[in-house]
Symmetry: C2
Subunit: 114 residues, 2 copies
Amino acid sequence: MRPLFHPAIEDIRPDAILYALSDPERAAIFAWLAGAGCGGTCSALADLGERTIPKSSLSNHFKVLRESGLIRSERQGVEMRNQTRCAELDERFPGLIRAILTAYGQLPPEMNTD
Amino acid sequence: MRPLFHPAIEDIRPDAILYALSDPERAAIFAWLAGAGCGGTCSALADLGERTIPKSSLSNHFKVLRESGLIRSERQGVEMRNQTRCAELDERFPGLIRAILTAYGQLPPEMNTD
DNA sequence: ATCAACAGTTCCGAATTTCTGAACTACGGA
DNA sequence: TCCGTAGTTCAGAAATTCGGAACTGTTGAT
């Protein structure tokens, strides 16, 4: 398996972020990761929504999220730990992630600063 | 020509907005409209960026923006007047449009509230 | 009224992208 | 070593996007 690619923070492009999160399934995965604290795995959410997502599709969703710069993935034994890059992202694109998750009605409690 | 469809504010979906603005060309058009005050026409920006956008593509970009709820288009004589729905949108999705335009580095001065 | 010019839309085929089942790789445990 | 689990890659089918050419609707001129 070739090593996982993660863009440097300065190479992250807003169009890639918007594209990645324009798929409700991916947005739900991202929101779930943002709320899960840390280390959400792939198989943990095979049926996050109403349908069962095929694992090849799930793998692809994670790849899109990773390569757009939204998450960081790291192999840990047999499974893959994923975490968001929210802190970095908020520095580069202030308010963006929060506004998007809020628009989806999926802002996790710990990201709420009201 | 069939009448132009504009979604009601409550039918606007965040995924459609993100999708529409995930195309840098469309985002530039939208930013330009947001800054143009009001009434930007289609042909006025055949070459907004470095390349000349074919008019069928331009027409399609406007359709995507319109049907996602980002802009309102109205025929005025022979041409089409377009304006953003920023005010409505900001009520429905607080901070979203601003954060996106800022991320693209295209927040027009009049939307700046710092 | 007819015609020409212009702004934009629609149509449709080519190219690109997305989706997902099946085969495959990687790791850990017995 | 062999098995099970987690996830990736491959490849073909389906869906989407792109853009040139033809078309529609409006205005202004003759």
